[in-house]
Homo-oligomer: 656 residues x 2
């Protein structure tokens, strides 16, 4: 029996669930990577259900900034009490627990775990680690990572904060010379942390040795007051993540001991002598892992959005195509399906790509360094492509919910605001795509191409796609066609770069739009290949529905970019039409399964936070219930009416 | 001298302004439709500068919902005092005044002006008008228009609210039979209005006569309390527009006199006899006017966003392509230009289209009814296309501002949240595009094609585009190429519809994605034609910059949709490459003019509400200034820290 069918549900949604052509639980198992991981998820969910202290008192959209902060810090303190759920050896479970507690708001100390500890771990010397790590893990030191400045992001060498070594006192003097050099954006830096790893340009013996990390206490351990000569504050409200501060920090000749420089790689000796690191290259492994987590996370945001839009579309009725036959479910409209279904397919494709990247990054840790440039480029490009397309998808889901999508009751505004920051943090998407392009320029000219770039060196085997019917279009043919288009895009951009006049930076700049577009094809090709390969090893009973979803993803990609496939007659207008038919076919096939597919994502209602996306489909009573939280509804006549309007109206009425 | 260059400005932005190749004031005059309108704008701006009571006390992103409401109602009350600026005979000036007072939040009584008064005007009988209009204009009756229900939007015939005539008492009984029949969404319905025009299905003599409008008092004139048997409330927070309620209303057998039905068109006689309206068709004229206003408004939101992104990109420096030469302005990167410049061009193109539509709708009022279907379709399609593309543009502008785009200091989150509702209200975009498609099916088969559809009946004159160089690509050739592509898209969709099997509603549904895409081409063609024609009559000195912008808009449209232009070899890959070169060329030409073009939009800082988009370019001091508004910065140690974290940390420290 389908676990999602329950007593009291809206019959319109039950009807959908009874139509499913596959076993929902088996899909969930596949989607979440096995029963073991699923069970661990369910444990977290039960825990949250049982511990109201870890949940919101009322829906966050009804909270002011002060209340949001109170709410998130209260939950954070609650977590400290229930830290049995935090297990640094089970990242999967711990992450899910943190995510379920904080859902779509900032986890105020996330940078402590995501940046402060890992950087410490990789940059502090063994002696430093022995001293600091116990403190950092004790819960008394709350740290963040402060690199970005108001006027400086990706270009580290231009950071304005300086750490000038004074051999007389054997101290570093940290200083912020201008407003644009203020540390700006680090999570919780302004209000809730008492320590930070500060990245500053190191000056010693009159010479700048470039950016280095320092361990810096910024607030008093007892009083939590900002230390003297450290100005700290909140940078103000953001699109989302308002349950904590994003902070600023300004140093006024603030002194720290020499030993506070993180000295695993480079050192400053007591006399001020700078000792270079033995290897100048940093390890990218950590960055790849963070990005693989991001890709999966962001794909999950899209999974949330399509869950909401699909379930709502199954209970919302509007329009009566055949007069007298009653209004139909909006999910029956092709235009509505076209808004949602390709994004269901994308949510799955992106998740698969993220999982794969995670696997690969784990292997990296075990030392397969030769693949590092491939994987690093891949992680950059995937992050950039997925974060952007997920935003577009969430917006389409919002539109698919009609007017109610604009209400916070839908949950989509929060989803969208929360996840869209990902296009910028952990590397601006444009900058990342150009890194992929730079990597591709090397791959094209390299005599030995790695597996992932082998296609660049293949001769195009055909002048025309082999596609005759979308029903017989094989995985091999699909990959060939994507390889053809990607190769063409990459080689053309490289050719353009080669013949571009001017200096190299100039030429690069003038080709950069085309280079980044070519890079995007490289990433698309990777996703297409991984998705097809993953599905070919899926359980037999799930293959039909998964294949239909994959084809929808792929055909939609081709039709939306048909110009690329049609160049030089590689595909004809008839072949594109055939792919279109493939899309309409796939959508009809998915239609009866749609609700069950999103059910199979198994997103808990604590995470979904949506009246429109409720499992039970009882949207309308839910919307009415929702209004009870509104502060405006506490009084019949609002305060502002009596305060401002009543006197005016009274006066006007006296004149009538 | 350029009025935007002032003492104390950031030299990086002054440098830009000194490079302009055209006279900014002359561009402003062109953009705003003449000196007279411009002067009237400036008058409003000075008025706002002088009247602090009409402005926000602090930036709205720092306000809670209660404060937002207090703020907007306070300004509303202020307006009542300064109503010298409200002149119903000068819609342009009045609208701008209202917009400048309320900027990017709800004008709480906007529906009073936009819907309540106009509907009264067109639906009330002369006797009713004589009674009600003085009340409606007196300021004592505050009305809204309540049509939409929780479960019912566009399909009016399915509204659940009933008005059942009781001949015994000569009253209508208004009733809400279910939750989904609650009136839902109307602006200010829940809290601030005392009257509403209610649309309900009329029952008399046992028969339903369809939806009709009624004049209904919902709150007491003295106490402002909700009347008995009327349940009123706020539906909760939304993406934006939180300075007022969007309301719900539930009737429990609420009685109103027979005379309260708006009886200009249909009537119910005292004995309950229903008298049909003489003409069953409603006038679309008003709707066209509202949409033409919307198109202009929404284009203006995009103008705001590109102003912010362009000015910020001229003062933000990042990256050092030539080592040692210093960081460059991010506006110099081709990828950044590609993010912003096409949307500068779109902001202008959409404004031109909106202005044209407004002109046409004014002529309609003078009685040119034969064009009504063309214009109605056009207004639907333009609204749908422009609102969606503006959203995409605003998001690109946000991304173009990097991390700071995510902060409310950029002003872009508010812009985006405020304007994205326009994709849904005044007609869901998908529904509207399908209306255009329906109109096109008629135009294709009609023996006499109107001017706007004449292209559908033209034989394609060429098998290949005449484009040889983007420099010599003439207006005529451009229009021909767009006509070709549009005709092809429309005819293909129609052919598909013709051969589709099943019933007509079924066939229509299965072709609806392609039909709506074809409709979009019809609208694009219209914009391209209007833009070229408008620019051909522009002042000579402005023509070069305007033509470059138009070409950027057009070439980008072609390259982004190259598949459509390449079908059946109409354009070759070489021709598409030529258009790409045209884009890069146009962007280089625009580069030195970019800041001055957005300056020429002449958006006042009260409207812009952006630290990043400040005229003076002093972004970094501005960001620091901005933090002073943060409630979190009122205390060094936040309340939540002492409340929740201090005790835990103390305990943990005692164990160290």
């Amino acid at each position: 029996m389908n676990r999602y069918v329950q007593q009291g549900d809206n019959p319109d949604i039950t009807e959908e669930r009874l139509k499913a052509t596959f076993d929902v639980d088996r899909f969930t198992e596949f989607y979440h990577g096995g029963l073991k991981r699923l069970k661990s998820r369910r444990k977290v969910e039960r825990y949250l259900e049982e511990h109201a202290e870890l949940r919101d008192i009322r829906p966050t959209p009804f909270m002011s900034r002060d209340e949001l902060i109170d709410n998130s810090i209260r939950k954070l303190a609650g977590m400290a009490k229930f830290n049995e759920m935090i297990d640094l050896n089970d990242i999967e479970k711990t992450t899910y627990f943190l995510q379920m507690v904080h859902v779509r708001d900032s986890m105020p100390f996330s940078l402590h775990y995501l940046m402060f500890l890992p950087v410490l771990n990789s940059q502090a010397s063994p002696e430093q680690l022995a001293t600091w790590m116990p403190l950092a893990l004790s819960g008394t030191v709350i740290g963040t990572y402060a690199q970005t400045e108001m006027g400086h992001g990706t270009n580290l060498s231009k950071l304005e904060t300086t750490a000038t070594y004074d051999p007389n006192t054997q101290e570093f003097i940290l200083h912020t010379p201008t407003i644009s050099g203020a540390k700006w954006w680090p999570g919780s830096l302004g209000k809730f942390c008492n320590h930070a790893i500060i990245v500053a340009n190191l000056w010693t013996q009159g010479k700048c040795e470039g950016p280095h990390p320092f361990w810096v206490q910024i607030r008093d351990s007892e009083t939590h007051e900002a230390l003297k000569n450290v100005r700290l504050g909140d940078i103000g409200p953001k699109l989302s993540l308002n349950g904590s501060d994003n902070g600023y920090l300004i140093f006024d000749n603030f002194r720290i001991p020499r030993e506070n420089m993180l000295m695993r790689h480079s050192k400053v000796l007591p006399d001020g002598t700078y000792v270079k690191p033995p290897h100048s290259k940093l390890a990218y492994g950590g960055m790849v892992f963070v990005r693989s987590m991001m890709v999966r996370d962001i794909a999950n945001h899209l999974a949330n959005a399509v869950t909401i839009a699909t379930r709502y579309s199954a209970v919302r009725r509007q329009g009566e195509p055949v007069p007298g036959k009653g209004e139909v479910k909006i999910l029956d409209y092709q235009t509505q399906q076209y808004r949602i279904f390709p994004y269901i397919a994308k949510a799955i494709a992106f998740r698969i790509a993220g999982e794969e990247l995670q696997e690969v990054s784990k292997q990296l840790k075990k030392g397969e360094a030769s693949q590092l440039p491939d994987i690093h480029a891949l992680s950059s490009g995937l992050k950039a492509l997925v974060t952007f397309e997920v935003q577009q998808g969430i917006e389409q889901c919002r539109l698919a919910c009609g007017g109610h999508g604009y209400s916070h009751a839908s949950g989509i505004p929060e989803l969208s605001a929360f996840s869209c920051g990902s296009c910028t943090y952990e590397g601006d998407n444009l900058v990342l795509m150009l890194q992929v392009a730079k990597y591709l320029t090397k791959a094209v000219t390299s005599p030995v191409a790695s597996g992932i770039c082998a296609y660049l060196h293949k001769k195009s085997s055909a002048l025309q796609s082999a596609l005759s019917s979308h029903k017989t279009y094989s995985d091999l043919q699909i990959v060939q066609d994507f390889e053809h288009v990607t190769r063409r895009a990459v080689l053309q951009a490289m050719d353009k770069l080669k013949i571009a006049s001017g200096t190299m930076p100039d030429a690069w700049n003038r080709c950069s739009v085309e280079l980044s577009k070519a890079a995007r094809w490289h990433i698309r090709l990777y996703i297409v290949r991984i998705v097809l390969s993953k599905i070919s090893t899926a359980p037999e009973d799930l293959k039909p529905v998964l294949r239909t979803l994959a084809k929808l993803y792929i055909f939609d990609l081709q039709v939306s970019n048909k110009g690329h496939f049609m160049e030089e007659g590689y595909m004809s207008a008839q072949q594109i039409d055939e792919l279109k038919e493939g899309i309409w076919d796939a959508m009809s096939t998915i239609r009866p399964d749609a609700v069950s597919i999103v059910d199979a994502f198994a997103i808990h209602e604590i995470e979904l936070k949506s009246v429109l996306g409720r499992r039970d489909g009882n949207v309308y009573p839910g919307l009415m219930e929702w209004t009870k939280h509104s502060q405006l509804n506490e009084k019949d006549v609002p305060v502002a009416f009596d305060k401002y309007l009543a006197p005016i109206i009274k006066k006007l009425r006296s004149r009538l």
